[in-house]
Symmetry: C2
Subunit: 248 residues, 2 copies
DNA sequence: AAGTGGTCTAGACCACAGG
DNA sequence: CTGTGGTCTAGACCACTTC
């Protein structure tokens, strides 16, 4: 039969599986049929089936693991429209073009809100560093930054007194061999507090961009968290999303 | 010292090609050897070579076209570290969970800053709409939005007087068949202006999140631009990046 | 030990772009 | 027309997880 259209078979196959995930035939948390089963069911070669699987992985619908199988992560495909992805953000160039000067470091035991923010358990002792970021010869600093480092890595070297051009999470990766596999980021607008305003030589109560980044390892543990506060007239955040797959 | 297990051949091959692109052996704009040539040179099967090619495409280093070849787009790999990608942003759920109520529409001829923002030529007549966005039964609106629609699509239907649950760019896609392939986004912190503050029932001069989105078609033309202003205590922007390929 | 996905091979046919 | 990348097949071996 076929003749479903100009789409290659792996796309048709992927779309079929997406539909079946959406309609609950494969509930979230369950395992999809194995590659070989799918080969039989669809009469396709393993390469074609694998290409279809890649589509599902790319859309974040499933996780695959050798020896286990293909597990459904979420059934939320919303509309098939625009599922866009950022290709480039300033995360990359930011640190290279600016300098972070560490003002002080100390250890803290997070409690209350901070403990929640760091997903820390009670009694853990984190490393806390404060710093300001500058852009080249520009006189006014770009932002005030507070960094919290997971107790496991609080022996990190090379912070104090330096002008860092390398992101701190990268120092951790280098010194401890721990890989950051996910970065979560939250952005909001806040009024500049008196202390930070003074440090940055900016007007108190003026609008500022508040950015909190969590750096997670493979197990989802917070390796590091950084909170940056940027006076509104000194920084803007830009990113770009591209349509990653065709509308089917 | 981080120990890395042996990499699969397609990764080694990709890394080799990346190095050669970086060092100028394959200048920007030139064609890489064909798949079959690479098969010979590296003694690998075509599947392996193609898998390596996918890595280069994924990193945005090359463009491929059947009948032409593999052309080098850029040699800029920056650091091999974290090239992270957002997997999910509120771009997706935002419109579905909130309602945009259009307050008014009119046509404008952008000049000065606005003309630059829209990348418009002089004399073009764009459609301008103002609206406020609400979240469910919540009393206070989330943001004030001004939308600019490219002259080619200013005949768009279904804006006025509706409570939109569909992004406007999607309406354009549906009504005109024009595909949005890229979304550019800029975020900054601003002080809330008097007029918007009054419309949103928020304190004037308080901190607000300013988000400007450009929706581009395949030729890079601005189909639509939207500027949203969110009082600081009513909205925050969250996104997540995952490491897309292994460090080599 | 059995089964999974990850990698790899050596073929094949196709649509498309170029001379 | 020739050659390109895009798709597809039917095998194979491996590392890993699970039992």
């Amino acid at each position: 039969m076929t003749l479903m259209g100009p789409q290659p078979r792996y796309r048709q196959l992927a779309q079929t599986l997406i539909n079946e995930i959406e309609t609950g035939r494969f509930p979230v948390g369950s395992l999809l049929p194995t590659e070989f089963e799918l080969c039989e069911q669809f009469g396709a070669s393993r390469s074609t089936v694998r290409e279809a699987m890649k589509q599902l992985v790319q859309r974040g619908l499933v996780d695959r693991q050798a020896g286990v199988g293909t597990r459904v992560r979420t059934a939320n495909v919303s509309s098939p429209y625009r599922q866009v992805m950022t290709r480039l953000t300033d995360l990359q160039r930011y640190s290279a073009q600016t300098e972070l000067k560490i003002l002080n470091t100390k250890t803290v035991q997070p409690a209350g809100e901070l403990q929640e923010l760091l997903k820390s358990t009670a009694g853990q002792t984190w490393l806390r560093a404060e710093g300001i970021r500058n852009f080249g010869r520009r006189t006014e600093p770009i932002c005030f930054t507070e960094v919290y480092v997971n107790p496991a890595f609080r022996a990190i070297q090379g912070l104090e007194g330096r002008a860092l051009r390398t992101p701190i999470f990268m120092l951790i990766e280098q010194q401890f061999g721990e890989q950051v596999v996910e970065v979560q980021q939250q952005i909001r607008a806040v009024a500049l507090g008196a202390r930070i305003a003074k440090t940055l030589n900016a007007p108190p109560r003026s609008a500022a961009l508040w950015i909190c980044r969590h750096y997670l390892n493979r197990r989802g543990e917070v390796i590091e968290a950084a909170i940056s506060t940027h006076p509104g007239d000194r920084f803007s955040y830009a990113e770009s999303f591209v349509r990653d797959w065709e509308v089917t």
